[in-house]
């Protein structure tokens, strides 16, 4: 048994998660159906049974339109809704206005395609939804995820193999960094800092007094740095001077902060602004664990020594902690993992020794004899019943106008990884994608007298940059696409830092820009 239908929304899977892309292409060849929703004609669109080329920032409307068809055509899973969920009736009432025709006006997707997609998705035995930042990097990101959950629950496509709602994690250990409490509101395993019992557990284990108040998110930190509340920022292995929305603002914040410490493998754009730079070991030079997009905890192993006097991040942190006066005496990463697992129920059954013996394990894995959990929500949702949430379409925070008539959306390509700290320094890769090529439609190019390979100036309300362009039918008229790989054309100078009210994710996927040809 495998997924017989994939619904991929806001994920250019074959370029950003290539090996998952291989599996999807294979499944399609073996007969699976594919629905793709994306503003760009991505490679997977060529394989799709239905391609929904929606306007950037209209995901909620599209998903509501599909749910409207599912409900009004009676394609929903009555048993699943009755036994496993609550709130369906409210959502069923609220989506009545999202008829395919109404949604077509908002999204630009023909009503018939919306119907076809809804029928295909609801008619599947096992339908898997895959999404990435094309869903979340919007001011409406959280509610779009609710809309996805509504669709999956209404059709009973949750809590069983080869189905579900699958956010593909972008970075090697973004799952682990979240699991480990690299978030302002939670300790490891999503245990809230606000809970007195949880805090007590960690206070006893760590021998310290802990702060009950949730901390600042990354965007809030930058604001706090600008107004002087945050004096010191410690950055481990991140490059906010290129990745943050509205870079000008972020760079000002990084300059304003009194003391900036950066721990990294290269002198990144952020490290170059630091007061102290600490050289770290790269992945092949250290031991530890990463967690992949399936919650699979896997061992990484030291293959070679780190260059010069560079050290593993954990060793740097331990020595710093000792200098501050904390009595840390970890002999290695296995000991650190063991302490973490002893405080984290979902990791309690995992140890380095077990990973060495058995290979990767998927959490929750509550005891040493537990085999791990390949898929979630098989009996119950985390909160018990699955909750339908009413989602209303809210337009992107910034709309086009006569001055800024184009929508800029951003992402990655196959060759580079994020700010390219690693891939720009890998010869064979860099040679294949040495510079930014902003994607511009034939129509916009013709209108502005731009040819493939020309240099253009792009301006938003926040900043401007110059970049070479690739004229292509991947983007529709009115839309420009850029990656955030190239420091020479740092797209986040342009992007909007308005955030989703819940997740605080900035709207990196939609901002208004104008474009003009640069005459050399």
């Amino acid at each position: 048994m495998k997924a017989d239908t994939f619904f991929i929304i806001g994920s250019n899977t074959t370029e950003t998660h290539p090996v998952i892309g291989y599996r999807i292409r294979k499944a399609i060849k073996e007969g699976a159906s594919l629905i793709v929703a994306d503003p760009r004609r991505i490679e997977l669109a060529e394989h799709a049974d239905v391609f929904l080329q929606l306007r950037p920032g209209t995901n909620e409307a599209l998903l509501n339109g599909m749910l409207n068809v599912v409900i009004n055509e009676g394609l929903y899973d009555r048993d699943f809704i009755r036994e496993r969920t609550e709130g369906f009736d409210e959502v069923a009432a609220a989506i009545q206005k999202y008829t395919p025709e109404y949604v077509a006006q908002i999204t630009g997707v023909p009503a018939e395609a919306i119907r076809k997609a809804a029928r295909l998705y609801a008619g599947a035995k096992n339908a898997a939804i895959l999404y990435t930042m094309g869903v979340t990097q919007h001011t409406s990101g959280t509610s779009t995820v609710f809309a996805i959950a509504n669709l999956a629950m209404a059709t009973g496509n949750v809590g069983k193999p080869y189905a579900g709602v699958n956010p593909l994690r972008g970075q090697n250990n973004v799952q682990g960094a979240c699991d480990m409490g690299g978030l302002p509101t939670v300790f490891t395993g999503y245990q809230p800092v606000a809970s007195p019992e949880i805090r007590k557990k960690f206070e006893e284990a760590w021998g310290v007094t802990l702060n009950p108040d949730p901390g600042l998110t990354i965007t809030e930190m930058m604001n706090a740095a600008l107004d002087g509340r945050v004096k010191m920022l410690y950055v481990m292995g991140e490059n906010p001077a290129l990745t943050e929305a509205n870079l000008q603002h972020t760079r000002e914040a990084l300059e304003k902060v009194d003391f900036l410490v950066v721990q990294d493998i290269f002198l990144t754009e952020t490290a170059a602004m630091a007061d102290v730079v600490l050289p770290a070991a790269a992945f092949a030079e250290k031991d530890g664990t990463f967690v992949n997009t399936e919650r699979r905890v896997q061992l990484i192993r030291k293959a070679v020594p780190a260059p010069g006097s560079a050290r593993s991040d954990w060793q740097i942190l331990q020595e710093l902690a000792q200098k501050i006066g904390l009595n840390w005496q970890y002999g290695g990463t296995a000991e650190i993992f063991a302490e973490m697992a002893s405080l984290t129920p979902s990791y309690a059954g995992i140890s380095h020794e077990r990973l060495e013996r058995e290979g990767g394990l998927q959490w929750p894995c509550p005891s040493p004899d537990h085999p791990g959990t390949p898929y979630l929500h098989s009996q119950n949702f985390t909160r018990g019943k699955g909750l339908f949430n009413v989602v209303e379409y809210t337009p992107a925070a910034e709309q086009t106008d006569p001055e800024y008539p184009l929508v800029l959306t951003t992402g990655r390509n196959l060759y580079h990884y994020h700010t390219g700290t690693m891939t720009h320094r890998s010869k064979g890769i860099e040679a294949q994608s040495p510079e930014e090529l902003a994607q511009v439609s034939f129509e916009d190019a013709a209108r502005l007298g731009i040819r493939d390979g020309d240099v253009v100036k792009l301006c938003s309300r926040r900043g401007e940059l110059e970049t070479r362009v690739r004229v292509t039918d991947m983007v529709p008229p009115g839309v420009v696409f850029m990656t955030f790989h190239h420091a020479s054309a740092p797209v986040n100078i342009l992007t909007n830092d308005q955030v989703d009210p819940v997740a605080k994710i900035p709207e990196l996927k939609v901002c208004a820009v104008k474009m003009e040809k640069v005459v050399s």
Binding site: R169, V174, W206, M232, E238, A284, N292, K302, L320, I324
Partner: protein
């Protein structure tokens, strides 16, 4: 699955219905030479070196299914002759710079040639005029050397069946048959994604990584790029990573990799790697000892915390670092009294 009885080289054995002769032989540890066969791919039956005798007829072992009562002989005189001639015909068009070939000692064609018993006398007789095929060196990572291509089609099937992009196929006809991109353009101008799956499977030196260095030892680990978490096997020579191959035992990727995972490791040895702590002095980042750098950071942390309270401190964890690194980072800052810890999961 029903079992059937077959006799192979005089031994009576049981095997599962649906298996090919090649698979049965493999399961018994009987070597049958192959060039176009690969266990990951569909069968092609094109190289004709896996010929065996089954019920008195010569068949390709890789494609012929076993039947109940089948009598199989893998080493008759006929079979040996056919294999030898087929290999010789392949070799007549093949470059013979084995010593300097990147595939030397790891070459299926060498292995099969030795097995079928190619002799220099016969090779002299068959040797064709030197080929004038031009190498395709357009891809910065790997090269295509048509003088070493045996047109087995493993690369074609790999691209179609493993990656799914199908950037290459057989082109032209008969004697001129070659592996071609759409329009026979250089590979770099095709839709090839440089994943290297074909390079991994090429049985000869036709597809090799440019400047390949053979490792002394290998270390199993996990890729540090995206969230798929593919298993990697790093090849190490001295204290440098010189190669990467996919970990076939890892259920996440079954050995498959993309361009970044397989070829994106040069950065490890890049001269710009940070090798020593740096402390800003007079506006300039200046090399410093660990003692100096960490003492300064510790002093500043205490100073800001004591003067402005713990929430004057903030830390960014990393989606790129390990669990252990991240656990200690949040433990450190939470122990100092602040929950100002976040990372770019939001980005």
């Amino acid at each position: 699955m029903a079992t059937v009885k077959v006799n192979i080289n005089g031994m009576d054995v049981q095997a599962e219905e649906g298996m090919t002769i090649y698979e049965v032989a493999q399961s018994l540890g009987i070597y049958i030479p192959t060039l176009c066969y690969h266990p990951d791919l569909s069968t092609f039956g094109g190289c004709r070196v896996c010929m065996v005798e089954a019920n008195g007829e010569e068949v390709t072992a890789c494609r012929a299914p076993i039947k109940d009562g089948m009598v199989i002989k893998t080493d008759t005189e006929n079979v040996s002759q056919m294999r030898l001639i087929n290999v010789e015909l392949i070799l007549t068009n093949h470059d013979q710079d084995c010593q300097s070939c990147a595939r030397n000692n790891n070459c299926k064609l060498q292995e099969v040639s030795a097995f079928v018993g190619v002799t220099p006398e016969r090779m002299q007789r068959l040797r064709r005029v030197i080929t004038n095929e031009v190498k395709d060196i357009s891809n910065p990572i790997f090269q295509r050397d048509f003088a070493k291509c045996i047109v087995c089609g493993i690369c074609v099937r790999t691209c179609e069946e493993i990656n799914g992009i199908a950037a290459i196929d057989f082109g032209f006809r008969g004697y001129k048959t070659t592996i071609s991109t759409l329009g026979d353009k250089p590979i770099l101008e095709s839709k090839c994604e440089s994943c290297g799956e074909c390079v991994e499977r090429c049985p000869t030196g036709a597809l090799v990584v440019k400047g390949q260095v053979i490792p002394e030892r290998e270390v199993k680990t996990v890729c540090a790029y995206c969230g798929v978490g593919c298993g990697l096997i790093l090849g190490v020579r001295g204290s440098r990573v010189v190669s990467v191959r996919g970990d076939r035992e890892n259920p996440v990727n079954n050995g498959h990799l993309c361009i970044k995972g397989r070829y994106g490791f040069d950065f490890l040895n890049h001269p710009e790697r940070l090798k020593t702590p740096l402390v800003r002095k007079g506006g300039v980042l200046t090399e410093a000892s660990w003692e100096e750098a960490l003492s300064l950071v510790a002093a500043k942390i205490k100073e800001y915390r004591d003067n402005f309270g713990p929430d004057a401190l903030a830390a960014l964890a990393s989606a790129r670092c390990t669990n252990e690194d991240n656990y200690l980072l949040q433990k450190l800052f939470r122990s100092l009294g602040t929950n100002n810890i976040d990372h770019c999961a939001r980005l």
